[in-house]
């Protein structure tokens, strides 16, 4: 490169301009995400913004350690691309948790390196830099460990049910929180002791583990959103510490997005975010009730052939998918069922509860993968009035989100949660593996309703058999 070009590219104004373009592209890209038609472009626009931000970071004179940079980027690319290419859509929640975790991990490692480089936030480090670095270190560490636990639970490496230390859990978390903050204050005040800094990281790590371990599978959408917000905020804090506007803007936007989603999910469950984080929802107590109370109530089971006849002569069928559909990977078979029904003139719609599945929008992604037009995916408020004129509500692997106890039993743990009112339909067919309760561990009166028939078995093979029967009609 000519010296003129070099001096232009390394000019601080040019670099600042690149950063401004970069975060402009982030915002523009996210605006694209507001509609399915423009979303692909939006995501790519944001990716270009990221590319520019990286280039801008590498332009200034005096950057060294190119070998290390290349090594890190190469390793990250070698891991990231195959992971993103090969992940199944049903595994998306754990993939998001994992990507979120590595982001948090990067944040706390960077803060640690900064601490070491500045001689433990020694002379010459403005106090605010120390404070924001410490904030980033704590939140990043909580997010890293919390996301890893969430990944473990979603991937089935850890049990999905709440794991808690019982009554000792909250006091322990409280003590860990105090210790973390105390260590941070000490470091900011100029302790310069790496042992204290590491102690702080360890306490934050334990806190991340202990906060997510007690949270049950059904609450995962809230947790993932919250951890996403955490990583975003920690990235913004790193941006302030390193005086990098692109990081501040990007981190803050993610913080905002994560907060909005967390709030939406918590509202959809009618529970406060704090109560969800306190964890231990459902679990042991309600589990026993599910087994014991069956004596005086009976369920009606049905066969694929009968279900097929019922569906074939319906005018409107509403499919209610839940996590069970994801587990069985039944989305493509469900789409086949929809085609078979539509060929017979049956109207088919999908009722999507905001917290169905394990992350916000989980069901939408699976059904999109199976080519279900998104116009047929109805949100809760739009579909609930429709159940009045629904002939058959077909519940596939959903449980708690259809539980009428949320409306009728004030003593139920899920009382007050907005549900899909499938019990208003003329008849209900529930596809279930067994009579176990849902992840919330709450018994579902819907199953004992006289309008309800249960089709036991793996969701995918059950739906497949129904499709075969439909073809034979």
């Amino acid at each position: 490169m000519t010296p003129l070009a070099t001096s232009f590219l390394q000019n601080q104004n040019f670099i600042d301009a690149l950063y401004i373009v970069a975060f402009g592209l982030f915002v523009l890209g996210l605006m694209g995400l507001t509609g399915p038609g423009t979303a692909v472009r939006g995501n790519r626009v944001a990716a270009v913004g990221m590319g520019l931000a990286v280039i801008a970071t590498l332009l200034p004179p005096g950057i060294g350690n190119w070998g290390l940079i290349a090594l890190g980027v190469a390793v990250g690319t070698a891991v990231g691309i195959p992971a993103a290419r090969n992940v199944k859509m049903t595994q998306m929640p754990q993939m998001v948790a994992l990507f979120n975790g590595v982001g948090g991990g990067a944040v706390f490692l960077i803060a640690w390196a900064e601490f070491r480089n500045s001689g433990g936030f020694g002379a010459g480090t403005p106090t605010y830099v120390a404070i924001f670095s410490l904030f980033a270190a704590i939140v990043g560490s909580v997010s890293f460990w919390g996301s890893n636990i969430a990944f473990g639970k979603l991937q089935g490496l850890l049990p999905g049910r709440p794991i808690t230390l019982g009554g000792a859990q909250q006091p322990l978390n409280f003590v860990l929180g105090i210790l973390t903050i105390a260590a941070a204050v000490d470091s900011a005040a100029g302790a310069h002791s790496e042992a204290i800094f590491i102690g702080m990281l360890v306490c934050a790590a334990l806190l991340g583990n202990f906060v997510v371990l007690p949270i049950g599978g059904a609450d995962m959408p809230v947790v993932i959103s919250l951890l996403n917000a955490f990583t975003g905020l920690s990235a913004a804090a790193t941006g302030i510490a390193l005086n990098n506007p692109a990081m501040i803007v990007a981190g803050m936007i993610v913080g905002a997005s994560g907060s909005i989603l967390t709030n939406l999910m918590a509202t959809a469950m009618n529970r406060s975010i704090l109560a969800i984080i306190a964890g231990g929802f459902g679990g042991e107590v309600a589990l026993g009730a599910g087994d014991g109370a069956d004596g005086d109530r009976s369920v009606r089971s049905t066969s694929p052939a009968d279900a097929a006849i019922q569906l074939a002569y319906a005018r409107l069928v509403v499919v209610v998918p839940g996590y069970g559909m994801a587990v069985a990977q039944a989305q493509h078979t469900v789409r086949e069922l929809q085609r078979a029904l539509e060929a017979r003139g049956v109207e088919v719609e999908y009722a999507i509860h905001p917290v169905a599945g394990r992350m916000p929008g989980h069901m939408n992604v699976l059904l999109a993968e199976a080519d279900v037009p998104y116009e047929q995916l109805k949100e809760m408020d739009d579909i609930n009035p429709e159940f009045q004129r629904t002939d058959v509500a077909l519940v596939i692997g959903a449980n708690d989100v259809t539980n009428p106890a949320a409306n009728t039993q004030p003593d139920s743990p899920i009382y007050g949660m907005p549900i899909l009112e499938v019990s208003n339909a003329r008849s209900v067919i529930v596809l279930k593996r067994s009579m176990n309760t849902g992840f919330a561990g709450v018994d579902n009166p819907l199953f004992y309703d006289e309008k309800t028939q249960l089709l036991f078995g793996d969701a995918k093979s059950s739906v497949g058999e129904v499709v075969e029967e439909l073809k034979g009609l």
Binding site: L30, R44, M89, G361
Partner: protein, 103 residues
């Protein structure tokens, strides 16, 4: 000088408002891609790793944790954008597929 801190905090607050305004408009259908897209965006911490290692990566231990940080950040960015792209492609192609049965 109106300190760097004040400038940065101003950027932080305004970015928060922009974030809330834009993200509130994203429909439920796209919440998973939104989440994984914003996930990719917070991979911007990669820049932090680059800055710190580029300007002051001294000592073997610092170098190791920074390389890990850069690798983490890159996984976050590259994986996040790719997986979001894959998901969004599925949302996009559907109406086209149903309108053009010859495909």
């Amino acid at each position: 000088m109106p300190s760097q801190l004040v400038t940065n905090l101003t950027i932080l607050v305004l970015a928060g408002f922009v974030g809330f305004a834009v993200i509130s408009k994203v429909p439920n259908t796209l919440h998973t891609p939104l989440m994984s897209g914003t996930n990719a965006i917070h991979g911007i911490v990669l820049l932090g790793g680059l800055l710190v290692v580029g300007f002051s990566g001294n000592g073997i231990f610092n170098k190791i944790i920074l390389v890990i940080a850069i690798a983490f950040g890159t996984i976050n960015v590259v994986g996040g954008f790719l997986v979001t792209d894959r998901m969004l492609e599925m949302f996009k192609r559907k109406p086209v597929a149903s309108e053009e049965p010859e495909e």
